[in-house]
């Protein structure tokens, strides 16, 4: 677990900072002039370094006792000692509260655009709130101005980002302009795209690297609408997906496996293969026991060991229909071996952990590990794999003709067929 929040342990800030977001820079990296300007950059001072003048903010890490004199400076807590040049942080005007928004060394940065949502999913990991948080959208624009063009991936999430309507499309347009080579992933419930005019607007972004991930939790409204706690949601979402597909937009279908969806996973796979065969990929995802999933645990938890055969059948069915298929958030020791070839190390690095039981596991490197929150509850099927199992891992991956997670190693997020 990598902490993303911290409190400055010392500060020389005497008047409120005039901006919130700071791109960290340091002596070590090439000082590109002007863009972004020095005033929007926080200079990370090396030990015994006399920092150059002109930066809007100066940072020291916890090991340095002195803050540079006469400059606006804060000392980072030890927990944020990992910050380096290229990262982006939000700092409260008084210099006290620090939030890490971007870690340039991670390929799994996601940008929260809002906590508002028109669904209210039983297992939501980011429980929706109703307050107006449109400042997050402004902040995302500001973040885009700070990111380098070489950024590999960015993910916009919520809440439901499409609730912003055309302002959301403007953000994606801005992103496309700033980061034309970056893979852009958006997580949405898809309902807003029921509106054909909005879908038209979205299609004008015209970014071939843009993909929108939309969950479905059933094959008809009854189950889906119950899980998302919103009557009418299923039909909105399906029509939204159809509208996106008609406009040649890339769509990923996400299915979170929980108590109600797991028993229907084959049905859902059949439904997707038959009704939505045009989607770009399908992700079958393990439950992350945080947020509502935590408070509704008895209503949503199922031990993944109990649905393994069906999950493997569903993944094989989808892949057999020509749909690129991934399994996220599952430990290899729990997965049916037939499903290993679909498994992706998907858990964001900052919340990924392994269990002590994993120390002797022969497949540790290839495994997706756990959510930090799995401390709360995890599958009873967790066990260390031996070398015999690990050999099967290599074999099953080779047989399928897919790039192996075993060989692809750490950066397997974008495994392609």
């Amino acid at each position: 677990m990598i902490p993303l929040n911290g409190i400055a342990t010392a500060s020389t800030i005497s008047r409120p900072l005039d901006r919130n977001l700071w791109l960290i820079t340091s002596q070590a990296i090439d000082q590109a002039p002007a863009d972004p300007p020095q005033t929007s950059r926080a200079y990370l001072v090396a030990e015994n370094e006399q920092p150059p003048k002109g930066f809007g903010l100066y940072l020291t890490d916890s090991t340095q006792l002195a803050l540079p004199e006469g400059l606006p400076a804060i000392r980072l807590p030890a927990s944020l000692g990992y910050l380096t040049a290229g990262d982006v942080i939000r700092v409260s005007p008084d210099g006290r509260h620090i939030r890490v928004l971007w870690r340039h060394r991670s390929s799994q940065n996601s940008v929260l655009l809002t906590e508002r949502c028109d669904n209210y999913c039983l297992m939501c990991s980011q429980p929706p709130r109703t307050r107006d948080d449109a400042w997050l959208l402004d902040e995302a624009h500001e973040l885009l101005r700070l990111l380098p063009a070489a950024t590999g991936d960015i993910c916009f999430t919520g809440g439901e980002p499409a609730l912003y309507g055309n302002d959301f499309v403007d953000l994606l347009r801005h992103c496309t302009r700033r980061l034309p080579d970056t893979e852009v992933h958006v997580l949405s419930n898809g309902r807003r795209f029921t509106d054909a005019a909005f879908a038209d607007e979205y299609a004008t972004i015209n970014n071939p690297k843009l993909m929108i991930g939309i969950p479905i939790y059933g094959t008809e409204s009854g189950l889906h609408d119950y899980i998302v706690q919103a009557p009418g949601a299923f039909n909105d979402t399906i029509r939204g997906i159809l509208n996106l597909a008609e406009r040649s937009q890339r769509v990923e279908i996400r299915v979170v496996l929980q108590k109600h969806t797991a028993p229907s996973i084959i049905r859902i796979a059949e439904f997707i293969a038959r009704n939505l065969p045009f989607v770009d990929q399908v992700a079958l995802m393990g439950l992350e026991p945080v947020g509502f999933a935590r408070s509704n645990l008895p209503e949503v938890w199922i031990d993944p060991i109990d649905y393994q055969e069906d999950l493997a059948d569903a993944a094989l069915l989808l892949a057999g229909s020509g749909i690129r298929t991934f399994i996220y958030n599952h430990q290899l020791c729990v997965l049916d071996k037939r499903a290993w070839t679909f498994a992706v190390k998907s858990i964001s690095d900052w919340k990924n952990e392994h269990d002590p039981i994993c120390e002797t596991c022969a497949a540790l490197e290839a495994c997706g590990g756990f959510f930090h929150s799995a401390q709360l509850i995890a599958s009873s099927g967790i066990h260390a794999l031996d070398l015999e199992d690990a050999r099967h891992l290599t074999r099953s991956s080779t047989d399928s003709g897919r790039p192996s997670i075993w060989r692809a190693g750490i950066e397997s997020k974008r495994v392609t067929r």
Binding site: T219, S221, L223, S264
Partner: protein, 484 residues
Amino acid sequence: MPIRYQPADVDQTHAGWELLPIRFHRFDLSRVLLTNMVGEHLFVTGEDFDALMSGALPSDPQVRRDLAGKHLIRATGEDVPVELLAMKTRTRYRRLAEFTALHIFVATLRCEHTCQYCQVSRQSSANDRYDMSAETARRALEATFQSPSRAVKIEIQGGEPLLNFDLVRDIITEAQVMNVHHQKQLSFVIASNLALLDDTVLDFAAEHDVCFSTSLDGPADLHNTNRPRPGRDSWQRAIAGIGQVRDRLGPDRVSALMTTTAASLTRVRDIIDCYVEHDLRAIFLRPLSPYGFAARRARPTDDVAHWLAFYQEGLDYILELNAHGIPMVEHFAAIVLKKMLTNDDPGYVDLTSPAGIGIGALVYNYDGYVYASDEGRMLAEMGDTTFRLGNLHANTYTELMTSNALLEPLEMSFTHSAPMCSDCAFEPYCGADPVFHHATAGDFLARKPESAFCNRNMGIFELLLDRYHSDPQARQVFQRWANR
């Protein structure tokens, strides 16, 4: 977090529900098969079916969800299921806009085999008045390239086409020249017994990317009994030919087709073993044709039960082979399963509706007459010219394709309006075969309970559905076949 809605609160069928267009079939004592417009299927209990038919929803919420998810029912007024059905229906029929992908050239009627079941009236090898002329071939090519289909396959058959190889060569080279302008995805198949295969033929095939399709009825004794030729070495020559084509052109450039005879019916495992042994990974367990000499000689196909037993034994054996890692495919099952499990209709000429005659395949006979199917040509050889669309030397392409000889049987046999087809649960998997029914019953439709075509297909559909639901391993094999 408080849960706002219980499942019952969001169940839209509460406010009312209605049936979407469905068809049913009482499958066995405990199950009723339901299919929707595009062939998605669901088994329900007799009780649930009776409830549904009397206007009540089954009590089990999962059954209600399955009915809705398979687009058999919808909440009153719900649009999305209908939109999805419309999309699937469009997908299923989109191939119709691009009609006639297969063009069959009968290069000659001559043949050095004297097969008992031959579907054409064979002529002695020496008699060249049964050869297609260069002018006829040229006109056939002109017709071929007028088809709207982007993909065009030219199949050259006979008789034995290699007896008229000069013409075969001319057809293929001329087609390639014409295609510079037409830009179709053009492919060539020579349907040959391979007995006369030589280096000249292989060199030409290699240069022009030609495939071969040959006959292989199974083990040597069965094959040579079915397919007599001087020397009684048809099997040996076919096997040698298959090897030569593979060596020279590549492993996938030759396929084999078997014909079922009365002698085959007890030997399906031997037949399949022969295919496996010779590395042929697909077999088509075909019914015996009611046309040609076969129809006049012995009893034709009416013994459907015997044939179905043969088919079932063969299919189960093939599934067994697959379970042992031998990826054998049964073609007919694969065609049906594609229609059953996907939105595609492969447009197989004998199992599609509207029928495949004319719009699935056209046959240019050696003498310039054009037929709506190869079976239609066979009937003409027996004196029945019902499916003759016209003659290349007298009629334009438009005249051929709008002739009554084509349009009438197409319209009459269309399964959505054919009695007993239109309300059959298997309609989406089946097809219209006006030529078969004309040949066996005297009209394009026939009475389905008396139709060997109908009985045979129903048996196959039931068999495939049974295995799909009772055998997880078969299910995976079937899913693979459906998505080939």
